[in-house]
């Protein structure tokens, strides 16, 4: 039964919503190709010079590198911890389980600025030198709930007797996890990893407090806003980030769905 596409007020509202949501992004991308330092209409002409000077900016490339390394390692740790948390929460009932769930979901509701300040104070108190590493630890904290939720969702729909079957065939508990559970949940793990990566890659507030002298890309970008002539550079960089983040999130969503629909028989 297919509903006829009608031109209802609701659909007008929807398209207005989508337009307003994406307008700034579209403008950003348009201006990144504009041959002028000022971001105003009318457009002066098409150019790739901003993108070209981006690739020559070593300071910025260093920030990109820092962000990628930070994102990669914090997501890896968050995915591993998230898998363990999800297994504990989904598979076992233990005293304090609901408290445990509440605590591990806490970073979702704590404002990043507050988290950043409190971590800054903590690292200062225990005498840890600020670096990309400290920002990475903070990123694990904020991305852990996302990883846990994505993986837990997959585990809930996962027939438990597959693990029993593996153990029945001679695999230890860890063997069953490695040979059966992890491979079947792999798309969900990848999705969790990619989501964590985008969180870390885009995150500004916490990173600005904790990176020390190794700026991540968002931190570097913010610092460049002080120089009006560099604004087009920032715009083109932001466009690139935008597109990359969207691709990663779409990929993650596609992986999550692929993992959920395919191996449900059993």
């Amino acid at each position: 039964m297919q509903q006829k596409a009608s031109f209802s007020p609701l659909s007008i509202y929807f398209w207005c919503f989508v337009f307003i949501l994406f307008l700034p992004i579209i403008l950003l991308i348009i201006f990144s190709f504009n041959n002028s330092v000022q971001l105003v209409f009318p457009l002066k002409g098409f150019t790739l010079q901003w993108y070209q000077s981006l690739s020559e900016n070593t300071e910025m490339l260093k920030a990109v590198r820092t962000s990628i390394i930070l994102g990669f390692s914090s997501s890896l740790v968050a995915t591993i911890l998230g898998t363990m948390t999800a297994i504990a929460v989904v598979r076992y009932s233990f005293p304090g389980r609901s408290f445990f769930i509440a605590v591990s979901a806490m970073p979702l509701v704590i404002p990043y600025v507050i988290l950043g300040v409190s971590l800054l104070i903590m690292f200062h108190q225990i005498g840890v030198h600020l670096s990309a590493m400290t920002a990475g630890i903070a990123h694990v904290v904020i991305s852990l709930p996302y990883a846990t939720l994505v993986i837990a969702a997959r585990l809930v729909g996962f027939p438990q007797n597959l693990e029993e079957a593996a153990m029945d065939l001679g695999a230890t508990y860890w063997g069953a996890l490695l040979r059966v559970t992890i491979p079947i949940c792999f798309p969900a793990l990848m999705a969790a990893f990619l989501i964590c990566f985008t969180i870390s890659f885009d995150e500004f507030a916490i990173a600005s407090f904790l990176v020390g002298t190794q700026p991540t890309l968002p931190v570097y970008l913010y610092s460049q806003l002080r120089f009006p002539t560099r604004l087009p550079l920032v715009v083109s960089l932001a466009s690139l980030l935008m597109v990359a983040s969207m691709v990663i999130v779409l990929l993650a969503e596609w992986l999550r769905r692929a993992g959920q629909t395919a191996p449900r028989k059993g």
Binding site: E164, A165, L169, A171
Partner: protein
Amino acid sequence: MSECSVELRQATKTFTTKRGANLEDVLAVRGLSLSIEPGEFFTLLGPSGCGKTTTLRLIAGFETPTSGDVFIQGKLMNKVPPYQRPVNTVFQNYALFPHLTVLKNVAFGMAVKRVPRVEREKLAQQALELVQLGDMGDRKPSQLSGGQQQRVALARALVNKPGVLLLDEPLGALDLKLRKAMQIELKQLQMQVGITFIYVTHDQEEALTMSDRVAVMHKGVLQQCGTPHELYEKPVNQFVADFIGESNFIKAKVYRVSGNEALVSVGREYFSAVIGEPQPQAGQEITISVRPEKIVINAPDASAHQGGLGGLVEQVIYVGADTRYVINLESGSTIVARVQNTGNVEEFVKGDAVMVYWEAEDAHILWF
């Protein structure tokens, strides 16, 4: 081998479940003792929730007994994890690994035990051929039909040459025709490989068809354990008589006990019945059970038998090979009689007055 393949001694399993604010203990299996001989096809039979699957899981090692002991091939197994027990399981919904091919599913157990790839794939292929799926090795389980998945699950367990194979309602998801074919195939396979099979089912017909011995369970308690013949012909209580096949239960009173038989009365009529355990006393109210196919129906004027019960035909149901008569007895009970349609039996219609008879040895005195 003189030792039992599997032995349970007073095995008990309680589950603690949360009901509202308080914890509640549920007895899944209660003081169960069984000995299963090597090479036997043994079935645990009972309605859902009777503890048969829990019993199987106690043997497989997925549950540990709350009290009592589990022995497999003479060794105490209470604390031994599933992966160290000489048993393999065919799960209810097959539990095939969806991310592996059929061949790799079958080779899984050997891969875990680090059997070299060439050897384990050869053995897995042989096992697939044993279940007639030799050319399906490179498919994924989701590409197979239910019956084929079932065979893969069987091959995956059997290829490890377990001392005991546990089967948890393996045919439950198949349609009737396929199930009947698989029953015969399973039985043949079991005789071919000579492994002890412990089979769980709620289908009494399936249990009788395949098993050497059957244990009937109800509410976590073993009711009766014996050959299909013993269960059918000499049920020890009303539950077994009712669960295995069909039975008529008629209230009666013991008049006189003599040896193996007792003279009982229903209304004004007297007849003999076989005594089970324990011995009834004269004057006691008891129940006798009679199988529908053991009942003979005659017109009231026929004087061939003595001691029949009079009644009226309430309903006549034609079911092809035989006809079922529902008869209201004068004593008030309603019984079902099954008469084979051999062509030379007298037919009755609704409302006919009839006399019903049975042999003394076909009437069993039951306790409950």
